[in-house]
């Protein structure tokens, strides 16, 4: 039996290599991470129970103990180039079993927030994550500007606030359509730049193996697969969070497609266009119910992964529920023959949509829509490259900063 071969404990060469790497220490990192929600990291005594308990932790990506250690010792650069936090889906098994109450699960969550702020080139993300007041202020400012902008636009292009459809519509669908695409492109561009920075920090980091173009192409399929299925999330022992998340995400995606491509059917009324609205109702139902279930979980702290909530978590859920509910109300008012009220609710709805997407997608929690699948992709690339060229790895591991 081959598997019975004794485990050799000391791959000396590998350890010698590690000692050559010099790492610059940031002693304030652990304090900094407290602003991102890391708690009790210093309680960890490196027993490794969490890494072995984690259903996602697999060689060569062994976490969360390693991240805890890097954080305790202030190894900023290795942490920044680490993909581990994105490979964790916070089932909370590590935190439940932790003999020290060091909350490794929440630390990984905090590291994801911190990494988001590191990837962001504007520095806005750092500001929003670290200060509750700044986030609220930013949301209010964007909301007010949006509200003022749409009101001004509605009146200036000759719209009538009492008219929802047709000739003198206050917010005609084709204009909103242009606005949506402008905003979508801008946000996409910002997120793209941040994603490129993520790629630079991780795949191109010092000590990482050379990844050939063929590998990039071979594993490209991972991106859509993990984007749409969140396959890794499903590996958590408890499937409920994955199912709930997938439902929320698919509902949102459906709504996004309706708005981006079929706005003129969706916004048209007051009769119900079942072809578009059928999907709309399904996704609106999903958005409202799933986000309320998430909110209830956080309030009741019903599971290890809901024990701690950062300000950004509350803000995100609050915005999502606000936007979903105002969208539904606006739709009902329109069908109920109250065009003026529908128009006003529409503006209010947009006052939620713009700050939610504008701030969350490139700078905050929502950016994980890109980082999660990218991390799975990058992790696979690096592992494959390492397996292909073990010799090259040894060279690349030569002295760093």
């Amino acid at each position: 039996m081959n598997s019975r071969r004794a485990y050799s404990l000391a791959p000396k060469k590998a350890r010698e290599k590690e000692t050559k790497m010099a790492v610059r220490i940031n002693p304030n990192l652990i304090d900094d991470l407290e602003h991102y929600g890391a708690q009790d990291v210093s309680k960890c005594y490196q027993c490794g129970n969490c890494s072995a308990a984690c259903p996602h932790s697999e060689n060569p990506y062994v976490f969360p103990r390693k991240s805890m250690h890097q954080l305790q010792t202030g190894q900023e650069k290795p942490l920044r180039s680490s993909l581990d936090p994105w490979l964790c889906y916070y089932c909370g098994d590590c935190s439940t079993q932790c003999p020290r109450g060091a909350e490794p699960g929440e630390t990984m969550m905090a590291l994801r927030r911190w990494l988001t702020s590191q990837y962001d080139f504007t520095g806005l993300s750092r500001l929003l994550y670290r200060s509750w007041a700044a986030e609220l202020t930013a949301i209010l400012i964007v909301a007010l500007l949006t509200g003022a902008g749409f009101l001004a636009f509605g009146f200036m292009h000759g719209g009538n606030i009492a008219v929802y459809d047709g000739e003198n519509a206050f917010l005609p669908a084709h204009y909103i359509h242009i606005f949506d695409w402008t905003m979508g492109t801008t946000l996409g561009l910002l997120l793209f730049i941040n994603a490129v920075r993520m790629w630079r920090f991780t795949v191109l980091s010092e000590g990482a193996p050379q990844v050939g173009l063929s590998l990039y192409l071979r594993y490209l399929v991972l991106l859509p697969v993990h984007f749409f299925t969140q396959e890794r999330f499903r590996k958590c022992e408890n499937k409920k969070p994955w199912a709930l998340h997938l439902w929320l995400m698919l509902s949102y995606l459906t709504m996004l497609i309706l708005i981006m491509f079929f706005l003129k059917y969706v916004q048209a009324g007051p009769e119900i266009n079942w072809f578009a609205h059928g999907f709309g109702y399904l996704s609106a139902f999903g958005l409202v119910v799933a986000s309320i279930l998430h909110l209830r979980g956080r309030i009741q702290k019903d599971a290890a992964y809901h024990r701690h909530s950062h300000e950004s978590d509350w803000m995100f859920l609050a915005l999502l529920i606000f936007v979903s509910v105002t969208g539904v109300v606006q739709h009902i008012l329109h069908r109920a023959g109250m065009p003026m009220a529908a128009n006003i609710t529409y503006v209010v709805h947009l006052m939620g949509v713009v700050p939610m997407l504008g701030l969350e997608v490139p700078f905050s929690k929502w950016s994980h829509l890109a980082y999660r699948p990218l991390a799975v992709y990058f992790a696979q690339l690096l592992a494959a490259a390492r397996a292909e060229h073990p010799a090259a790895v040894a060279q690349a591991a030569a002295p760093a900063d």
Partner: protein, 618 residues
């Protein structure tokens, strides 16, 4: 002692403003901290009184702000272990621009169980008095203050618990010619140590050390052993305790029984042996192990058919006994003892590994707890000391398959040992059990010695080899080829009838999952069941982990808060055999000292005085 301000010769000593910080960490405390706080706020020059949660981490900067705001010149820390926060206050005083040395500690620890609110008030008042020195150790007892010397002392002593601590203490006292009653809950003295095969780090045969002591106890005329007995009630005070002991009937006349074993041969009921931790069986009439003291058979009333059927069934043993030593109808009795001192040596039980489900204890037959392995590897165990795996066997009587150890069973080819099971874990016992690292290394050594072809893995968090010769033992075991993996393993799984152990190898930063044949769980120690009731009967206190509380951690680790009652061995806190034996002898010395002192007080002869006088002159 004068106040430092006046010695500096400044014109006008600044008015002292004291901040009193009370630390509330005493569970079931007899002290009303609120009353003490109220009292303290009325004291002269006390500016602030605050109650702090003991376990809270204090922020020196926050404290410094308060010190500045209240213009405090010195701080009094009062509580059970005020030293814990001294560092934070030193820093705070320094940050506030004051003298970091001006902290006085007022400790309640010494009398935590007996301390009244009034007593606490006095301690705080003493620390706040102007003449109290910096960092004064107010309320520390004067040396020997705990050794309450009664004017008369009954020379008999009660020892509760017949493990190595109880044996050692009994022998020390009895050999000086004083009476000892040794009360033991099980059927034999010897305790946990009698179960062991080897002791660490010397690898001495445990039985070779213990059995001569056990025999000495059995033969000593001054020691009366009460097996199957439990303390029911304790009244009186130091020097004159009255104790009621419930003595369960052994139903075998110890003086007549010659331990021929005929009775057990004819006994029809088989049950699992407690002494063998359930990995072997015995009859309902049994002797715990061949070297048991007292060396007689006894009846397990819970499993005996005659007792359970109230005399309607069986009775085979009594009929077969050639000596007529078996009295099945014998009744439990209550024995009343009068003693001068009591030594508590109730030892420990091991953590129930089944509480941590992921290790699979109780689910997989070859996942063993440490005491089970001790019995397996012991020459008097079910396999005669061979290390084998459990095998499936058909029980002819119950017609069910069961997993048992058989001497010719297959040897394990790989064994994993997991440290810190139930210890150093806030979900279970947060303390370190102190002995597990070393006994785990001993297990690894035994595996390598008895099954040289087996690979052996140790999963540890930190290796605590703190004693004399321990580090050397660790190195020796390492050199013997044991794979010592840093990282607590997290789970044991069975796939295709093969156990796999999964853990992180921290030194190499990777996960490892190894196929193993046997997993040994190094379970921690916890207080014996019934410690709580015993503490209530004796009116002594326990700490938050359930161990009996010593009078003073450093100065009086043997004494309890109640004069005349002493603790020895693990019941006071986890410790190894040498420490247990040493503490038992120390407890005996306290007892002997009180007996001798009371006797010399009683009969002062002229000769004594003369001798003393001569000594004084020389």
């Amino acid at each position: 002692m004068s106040k430092p301000e006046s010695t500096e010769g400044s014109m006008q000593p600044a008015a002292e403003r004291i901040g009193v910080y009370l630390l509330s960490d005493i569970e079931d405390s007899t002290v009303d901290l609120r009353a003490v706080a109220q009292f303290a706020s009325g004291l002269k020059s006390v500016a602030v009184v605050r109650t702090l949660e003991f376990l809270r981490r204090l922020n020196p900067e926050e404290l410094a702000r308060e010190i500045t705001r209240e213009k405090l010149t010195s701080v009094v820390l009062a509580g059970e272990r005020p030293g814990r926060h001294k560092g934070a206050f030193t820093r705070a005083l320094a940050l506030a621009g004051g003298d970091g040395e001006k902290i006085r500690l007022a400790s309640f620890a010494e009398r935590s169980s007996g301390l009244t609110t009034e007593g606490a008030k006095q301690i705080v008042a003493g620390a706040c008095a102007p003449e109290a020195g910096a960092a004064s150790v107010a309320a520390y007892p004067a040396a020997g203050a705990s050794k309450f010397q009664p004017s008369t002392c009954n020379p008999a002593t009660l020892v509760i618990g017949g493990g190595v601590a109880g044996i050692q203490a009994s022998l020390e006292i009895a050999e000086s010619g004083n009476k000892v009653y040794l009360v033991e809950r099980t059927g034999t003295i010897g305790g946990r140590m009698a179960m062991f095969d080897k002791t660490f780090p010397t690898l001495d045969c445990a039985a070779c050390i213990l059995t001569p002591k056990m025999v000495a106890v059995g033969q000593n005329k001054n020691i009366e052993i009460l097996v199957l007995s439990e303390v029911q009630q304790v009244t009186g005070q130091a020097g004159a305790f009255k104790v009621k002991v419930l003595k369960h009937a052994t139903r075998v006349d110890a003086s007549a029984c010659v331990a021929c074993g005929d009775c057990a041969r004819f006994c029809p009921t088989t049950t699992s042996s407690d002494f063998d931790m359930g990995i072997a069986t015995r009859k309902s009439i049994f002797m715990p192990f061949p070297q048991a003291v007292p060396n007689t058979y006894m009846i397990d009333a819970l499993h005996c058919q005659w007792v359970q059927s109230e005399g309607k069934k069986c009775g085979a043993c009594a009929k077969k006994c050639a000596k007529n030593a078996i009295h099945l109808d014998a009744q439990d009795e209550i024995v009343e003892l009068e003693v001068g001192n009591i030594i508590v040596a109730t030892g420990y039980e091991t953590f129930d590994a089944g509480r941590i489900e992921r290790y699979g204890y109780g689910r997989h037959p070859n996942v063993l707890s440490s005491l089970e392995f001790e019995r397996l590897t012991n020459a008097s165990g079910p396999t005669g000391g061979k290390i084998v795996m459990k095998t499936k066997r058909l029980n002819k009587k119950s017609k069910q398959e069961e997993w048992v150890f058989e001497p010719d069973g297959p040897k394990p080819r790989s064994v994993a040992i997991v440290h810190c099971v139930g210890s150093r874990d806030q979900n279970h016992n947060s303390y370190c059990s102190r002995v597990c690292c070393m006994y785990s290394l001993k297990f690894a050594h035994l595996v390598r010695e008895k099954c040289p072809e087996a690979t052996c893995y140790e999963y540890y968090i930190d290796m605590r080899a703190y004693g004399k010769g321990y580090e050397e033992f660790f190195e020796r075991v390492h050199e013997e080829g044991v794979h010592i993996v840093q990282g607590r393993s997290a789970m044991v799984e069975e796939r295709d009838s093969q156990l796999y152990i999964k853990g992180e190898d921290i030194a190499n930063n990777r996960l490892i999952e190894l196929p193993v044949d046997m997993v040994l769980l190094s379970v921690g120690l916890q207080p014996s069941p019934g410690s709580g009731e015993l503490a209530a009967k004796l009116d002594i206190s326990r700490d938050k982990d359930g161990w009996f509380r010593e009078l003073d951690y450093n100065a009086e680790p043997n004494c309890t808060a109640r004069p005349g009652i002493f603790v020895a061995g693990v019941c006071q806190g986890p410790k190894d055999i040498p420490d247990t034996v040493a503490q038992a002898s120390a407890a005996a010395s306290y007892v002997l000292s009180s007996i001798v002192a009371a006797n010399s007080l009683k009969e002062p002869s002229e000769g004594d005085e003369l001798e003393t006088g001569v000594l004084a002159r020389s």
